[in-house]
């Protein structure tokens, strides 16, 4: 059984007991425990079920590479699935639950898959589940989805908050083991701005566990001193609990800092995502131990040798009473020594190497432990826990020599450098035959903005495995003088062992797990090779090797080796799969950071926004703005409110907040010439004080924006744009001025937000302005399409006598800071004239009744002004304007284009929005022919009937014709083609 030892555990604080729960069982633990060490202290070896066969799964590792130990953590708004126990700090009251089983961890119905495992090899689903056809969607898939998936589904809104922050550095050192600390000290002493990132709460990495001396003092002491030195330097920032998740182009490093993961609900952000821009990255990310592939290597109790050592030294935990060690290298003997030091039994060390010499093995022999040379494990006994192993000759086919009873197997297949960060941004690897590993190829590093290498790997991450190699390599990164020295013994080379035993037959190979979470076995990879999935990417995708939540940290290299062997080629010929960010899974909330709720996106408010809110507004999002759609009175429907606003504006007085309209000042000797290029019409001839409606097209010739242009003075014009168009059009102007006509003397300024603009509309419009007083707004002084500036009711105002409704109408601009006050003044003064505010829907209906087009309704990016019968707004004389050439292309110049007309249903009903007018027959693809479509359609309270506008083939020549518009539920709407102006055709009202 696994239990807490009476002493030891350098990371736990025995004076601070805590309690966690696992599947409802309360378990005592200590501050400093991980969830993994906490449950192991309580003999909970089995912690989950595998993905495919639902086999029992135990903790295998002690860090980020752990494939099995995933639990649901917390509850309700703090529930988090797939939490990795080996990297999650235990805290008092932590609730955890195992995953992927039903009804219980101990008894799981899904384990039936295990019984049929030989019929469910890699990729079996591609070969079956095809008949009958409908069964995939309705039967097979639901079953597969149900038994797949891992964690439970969160249901609540996240209770925690997250944030991000930017940081800048000359050097970022990733990993605070002895390699990282050595490199960081070198960089810091050379005066560089240094950031050190360590994923765990404590620094030191493996050295402090393996316990040799550095420069005469114990590794632990040396590490503590190095950390103190770094913390004491102004040019160094050292962050623990911070995972470098990904490296992106131009030295952009992403790092997730765990702030309140282990102190939930203390008010701090749960995590902070650092976006670090650095000139250089030093990866000191260490190495990951490889499992060995022998039958039953997935049974709970079979663990990585170094992990067994970590649990003993760091957490004072004995995984088992009797631990058999199986290895192909010397390092695993450190585990034997650690266990012996802890007073535990090591029945034997099974070493695949034919002859084993060297200091570490000798030290183990000296303590009376058998070292079985040239041996391997044929199979492991046990179901939910190891009970023993069968020893065999590694070179043979698995015949048993002896059986060893044990409750833990500590395996070591050697070490693989952690090359993820190096690879994320294009760094290449080389195969080091002597060390039997892929390691960074210093000649092909990831490139920075200047095209030169931006990453260097040091220490174990660079393939250096013995302490002295590591320190020498790390020191060389920046160091002057001599590298730190250790007293660690020399180690004999490991000898690669890809399957155990060498000659294992199919039966054994089908029980050798490569990827214990996804249940990928040696036999599956061999099957993929046999079937021609020869590319490593094919094999990965076909078998799902390395696609589990650990992303193959422990399984990839063994899988590659097995694949290479099956293809009879060298490992480098096979190559590796691509390493994708993030290194460990990154919480989505951390990525979204502050952008939630009210600050999810900017909300643009006009100066009158709050007034609308206080007066029954129903909002319409327009870009990032909110505009009043209508103002509802108590008990009023939206439809009724809109109709009321329309009728009142036509008969009395309406106010519209038009502040969102774009207002761009264009000034300079060449401004007129510039505007003549920008608009389809002529603006240079516009007299000062006059207004003119204009259209803008893109170079394609398609209509992109419209608005009223005002000549403010001899050399300055004010261009109104649509609400959505303001920034776009201003950018468009600057683009042409800066990049095409840079010798033209024109300056622009976007004044959109400088002014609040209010449309005062209706028969009583002039009356209310005259009541305010201060300016002569009479028909004589201020006729239609003119402009004046002055004082209106004590406000500095610009008054534009323009109309988008067909009513007598003024648009008045006042400084934004006074917009609210001016609006309220109009409301107050307007009472006697029946004033009411109106919204965008009323605005739309008013303009539609008058047959005015609306950008975004009549236009959709494929419509040209000619389609809208607006040739009158296009200058024939001008040699050029933006879009003119585009409009000359055959399809745009075609006489067969759909053109704008009015549409009136025969029964007075409202045509469906977006409906198409059908034509006889079908096209070559069997699609019904069409001859037009509805662009705007409303109920007109003024005319008390439906009115619409649409684009119809040869429309203007077909007045009076009736078209069919298929609507919803098979209903066909019939509408007659009519003049697009439905109301006050002669324009008497506007002229009042």
């Amino acid at each position: 059984m696994s239990t807490r030892l009476a002493r030891g555990g350098r990371l736990i604080d025995r004076s601070k007991p805590i309690t966690i729960s696992f599947n409802g069982r309360r378990m005592p633990a200590f501050l400093g425990d991980t969830l993994a060490s906490a449950v192991l202290a309580n003999d909970q070896m089995m912690v989950g079920r595998s993905f495919k066969y639902h086999r029992p799964r135990g903790i295998m590792a002690s860090g980020a590479e752990e494939p099995n130990a995933l639990v649901g953590l917390g509850a309700g708004p703090r529930f988090e699935p797939n939490q990795r126990m080996t990297t999650t700090e235990a805290f008092d009251g932590a609730e955890t639950a195992s995953q992927n089983h039903w009804p219980s961890l101990e008894f799981d119905i899904g384990a039936i898959n295990n019984k049929f495992s030989r019929f469910l090899p890699g990729g079996f689903y591609y070969k079956t589940f095809m008949w009958p056809r409908s069964f995939w969607k309705n039967v097979y898939e639901p079953f597969i989805r149900q038994s797949a998936g891992l964690g439970k589904v969160p249901t609540d809104r996240d209770a925690d908050r997250y944030e991000q922050a930017y940081a800048y550095a000359d050097v970022v050192v990733v990993g605070a083991g002895i390699a990282g600390l050595t490199a960081a000290l070198g960089a810091a002493r050379s005066g560089k701005r240094v950031i050190v990132l360590e994923m765990t709460p404590a620094c030191g990495g493996r050295a402090v566990v393996d316990g040799f001396a550095i420069d005469g003092q114990p590794a632990e002491g040396w590490v503590a001193a190095a950390v103190d030195t770094l913390r004491g330097m102004d040019n160094v920032t050292l962050m623990t609990r911070t995972m470098a998740t990904g490296l992106y182009d131009h030295g952009y490093l992403m790092a997730a800092q765990r702030i309140a993961d282990h102190t939930p609900g203390d008010g701090r952000p749960k995590q902070r995502l650092w976006r670090i821009r650095t000139a250089e990255v030093i990866t000191a990310t260490g190495a990951i131990e490889r499992p060995l592939s022998f039958a039953g290597n997935d049974i709970p109790g079979v663990m990585l040798a170094a992990a067994v050592r970590d649990y003993a030294v760091n957490y004072g935990i004995s995984i088992g009473d009797r631990t058999v060690i199986v290895t192909n290298n010397d390092d695993a003997y450190r585990t034997a020594l650690a266990l012996l030091d802890a007073g535990l039994t090591v029945p034997a060390v099974i070493d695949a190497r034919p002859t084993v010499t060297g200091a570490l093995p000798q030290a183990v022999r000296d303590r009376g432990v058998r070292v079985l040379e040239g041996r391997g494990i044929a199979k492991v006994h046990g179901g939910k826990r190891v009970t023993g192993v069968e020893v065999c000759v590694q070179a043979g086919e698995g015949a048993m020599i002896e059986e060893l009873g044990c409750d833990c197997v500590a395996m070591s297949g050697g070490w693989s450098p952690v090359v993820h960060l190096w690879s994320h941004c294009g760094g290449k690897l080389l195969w080091d035959e002597a060390r039997a590993m892929f390691r960074p190829d210093a000649n092909r590093p990831p490139l920075g903005a200047d095209g030169r290498g931006m990453v260097r790997a040091v220490g174990a991450a660079n393939g250096m495995l013995t302490p002295d190699e590591v320190l020498t390599d790390a020191h060389a990164a920046f160091g002057d003088g001599t590298a730190p020295q250790t007293n660690a013994p020399d180690e004999a080379r490991m000898e690669p062992v890809w399957i155990m035993p060498q000659g294992a037959g199919p039966k054994l190979r089908a029980k050798m797990w490569l990827d214990p979470q996804n249940d990928v076995k040696v036999s599956d990879v061999q099957l993929a090779a046999r079937e021609g999935y020869e590319s490593v990417e094919h094999t990965k995708r076909y078998t799902t090797l390395g696609m589990a939540t650990d992303q193959g940290k422990i399984s990839n290299i063994n899988g590659l080796a097995v694949l290479s062997d099956a293809l009879h080629q060298q490992i480098p010929a096979t190559g590796t799969t691509t390493f994708r960010p993030p290194y460990t899974p990154l919480t989505l909330g951390t990525i979204a950071a502050e952008a939630r709720g009210e600050i999810f996106q900017p909300l643009r408010r006009t100066p009158i926004h709050e007034w609308h809110e206080a007066h029954g507004v129903e909002w319409e999002p327009v870009g990032l703005w909110r505009r009043p759609f209508c103002y509802k009175r108590a008990g009023e429907t939206t439809h009724a409110a809109v109709n009321r606003e329309v009728r009142n504006t036509r008969t009395n007085l309406g106010l519209l907040d038009a502040s969102t309209l774009g207002k761009i000042l264009v000034k300079g000797p060449d401004a007129g010439k510039f505007l003549d290029m920008l608009y389809t019409g002529v603006m240079s001839t516009l007299p000062v004080g006059k207004c003119r409606y204009g259209l803008m097209c893109n170079e394609q010739g398609f209509l992109s924006d419209d608005g009223v242009v005002v000549r403010l003075s001899e050399d300055s014009w004010l261009c109104h744009t649509t609400s959505g168009g303001a920034d776009r059009i201003h950018g468009w102007m600057e683009d042409w001025l800066q990049c095409e006509w840079w010798d033209w003397k024109v300056y622009t300024a976007n004044l959109t937000e400088q002014f609040a603009q209010i449309a005062v509309v209706g028969p009583n419009a002039r009356k209310v302005l005259e009541k305010l007083g201060g300016m002569d707004v009479s028909k004589a002084t201020l006729p239609f399409m003119t402009f004046a500036e002055g004082q209106l009711g004590g406000f500095n105002a610009r008054v534009f006598r323009i109309s988008f409704s067909g009513e007598l109408s003024y648009e008045i601009a006042v400084p934004a800071s006074e917009g609210r006050a001016f609006w309220e003044k109009l409301i107050e003064a307007g009472q006697e004239f029946g004033v009411m505010p109106y919204g965008t829907e009323c605005l739309h209906i008013l303009r539609a009744e008058k047959g005015f087009i609306m950008i975004g309704d009549e236009t959709d990016g494929t419509v040209i002004p000619q389609d809208l019968n607006m040739a009158w707004a296009i200058s024939k004389k001008k040699p050029d304007y933006l879009g003119k050439r585009g409009q000359e292309r055959s399809f745009l110049a075609s006489p067969d284009r759909w053109k704008l007309v009015g549409l009136e249903t025969l029964d007075g009903s409202v045509l469906p929005e977006g409906a198409y007018a059908v034509a006889p027959g079908v096209n070559a693809n069997g699609q019904r022919n069409v001859q037009g479509r509805v662009t705007s359609t409303y109920f007109s309270p003024t005319l008390n009937r439906g009115i619409a506008m649409g684009l119809v083939k040869h429309g203007p020549d077909r007045m009076g014709e009736v078209l069919d518009f298929p609507g919803d539920g098979g209903k066909v709407h019939q509408a007659r083609i009519v003049d697009q102006v439905f109301y006050d055709k002669e324009g008497a009202k506007n002229d009042a």
């Binding site: 095809m130 969607k137 964690g151 993030p582 989505l588 990525i591 979204a592 977006g914 919803d968």
Partner: protein, 415 residues
């Protein structure tokens, strides 16, 4: 070749699956082929497959510079839909969708087509207008879609936040027979079928030049020697411009990086595909349980298959806002692909200035869903040497006339 079936799997199981043969051969290139397709992605393989199946043209080589299906076919978010606004798009995407319905049986390879239903959320009045218009168009195009209200959306997607503070869901464009398929399986299934017809799929074979004589293509130079052909089809997505350069012509194409990501797997919680275009994010749940997420493209030319981080961030924050419960899920893996964007964001299936050289490209961010239809139409174009009804609108010369196929007008995006 051995037929796939449950019985076959069981039978082989008794023999530890030692009896399975290769899914596709791995031949050396011959001197000459009737047709060479460059690019063994879904579109290239499908083109070859329908050349053989529909036109009996089987002396075909498919050349692939890397490994088959290793481009965008194996990097996309596997969404299948045909609810496009414009007639030509609707025609070819619906052709593809309907072929997907029976593709597993046609290929004897389970591509796991899952018509689980697809929603495009309308979150502004502008989108409501655009999608209602699309529904009316689809009904006339023979594409089954419907407009559904917020309540129905909530019913189909219980985890969605209908009344988000910023963009309440006003309804959705719903295609019940839209869904997903297993992307790798589509490439592998076509490859197996092509190989079975005697076609040569030649991997690790990069085209380095295009040979021509008096205005007609005669063959290609490759890293495995030069190979002659009567007809050449370029079906290489993001690398089309590079091949076109070899052919001596330019295309209205720009190569951009598009990113996608998956979360860690959780138990089933979303049975449909949801696209939210106002906030630029779309999401479905794979059979493994991963939430499969995609977003927008970079705005600059890029061949690195590495996109810029801010697009991932934009997508995630949009989806966390739309599906608050995913906040504590974790991103497991992110990756990028190189998409080929045309001037109107619609594909090109066309003859080229070079005789007997045809191009199929410009699928941008939406190619996977089109694979069978694209292959079907391209095969017709190449076999007959002239465009059929499915391809005639997709000529590379449409831009000169200004005859665009612009899908953005319905606020729809081409994912």
């Amino acid at each position: 070749m051995k037929r796939y079936s449950g019985f076959a799997v069981a039978r082989e199981g008794l023999n530890y699956h030692l009896g399975w043969g290769r899914a596709w051969r791995n031949p050396a290139p011959r001197k000459k082929y009737d047709v060479i397709i460059v690019g063994a992605g879904g579109h290239g393989l499908a083109t070859a497959y329908y050349l053989g199946k529909n036109y009996g043209i089987r002396n075909v080589a498919i050349l692939e510079k890397g490994w088959l299906g290793g481009g965008n076919t194996g990097r996309n978010t596997t969404i299948i839909r045909s609810n496009y606004l414009q007639d030509p798009s609707a025609a070819i995407y619906e052709k593809a969708r309907s072929l997907y319905e029976t593709l597993s049986q046609d290929l004897n390879y389970n591509v796991m087509f899952s018509p689980r239903g697809l929603l495009m959320l309308a979150q502004t009045h502008h989108e409501v207008r655009g999608y209602r218009r699309t529904v009316y168009a689809n009904n006339l195009q023979g594409v089954e879609t419907e407009w559904i209200g917020p309540d129905r959306v909530k019913q189909l997607v219980p985890i969605i936040n209908i009344d988000g503070p910023r963009y309440p869901v006003l309804g959705a464009l719903y295609q019940a027979r839209g869904g997903t398929a297993r992307h790798d399986a589509v490439a592998w299934g076509y490859a197996r079928a092509c190989s079975d017809m005697g076609m040569d799929i030649i991997q690790q074979c990069e085209v380095t030049g295009i040979r021509q004589a008096n205005g007609k293509v005669t063959g290609v130079d490759t890293t495995k020697g030069s190979i002659d052909c009567d007809k050449l089809g370029l079906v290489v997505a993001g690398h089309t411009s590079v091949l076109a350069e070899m052919g001596g012509f330019r295309l209205p194409i720009e190569s951009l990086a598009l990113q996608a990501l998956v979360s860690e797997p959780i138990k089933p919680c979303m049975d449909v595909v949801v696209m939210a275009n106002t906030v630029h994010g779309y999401m479905s749940q794979s059979d493994k349980g991963e939430m499969v997420i995609g977003g927008g493209t970079d705005g600059f030319n890029n061949y690195t298959q590495r996109g810029s981080w801010q697009h991932v961030e934009e997508t995630i924050r949009a989806l966390v806002e739309t599906f608050p419960m995913i906040s504590r899920l974790k991103m497991l893996r992110q990756w990028g692909g190189i998409v080929d964007m045309t001037g109107d964001r619609s594909p090109i299936l066309s003859k080229t200035p070079l005789g007997n050289c045809f191009v199929n490209c410009g699928w941008g961010t939406g190619g996977f869903k089109a694979i069978p239809g694209s292959g079907w139409a391209m095969a017709e174009l190449m076999a007959k040497g002239a465009p059929g009804p499915l391809t005639e609108e997709f000529s590379m010369y449409r831009f000169r006339e200004g005859k665009f196929i612009d899908e953005s007008v319905a606020a729809g995006v081409a994912h």
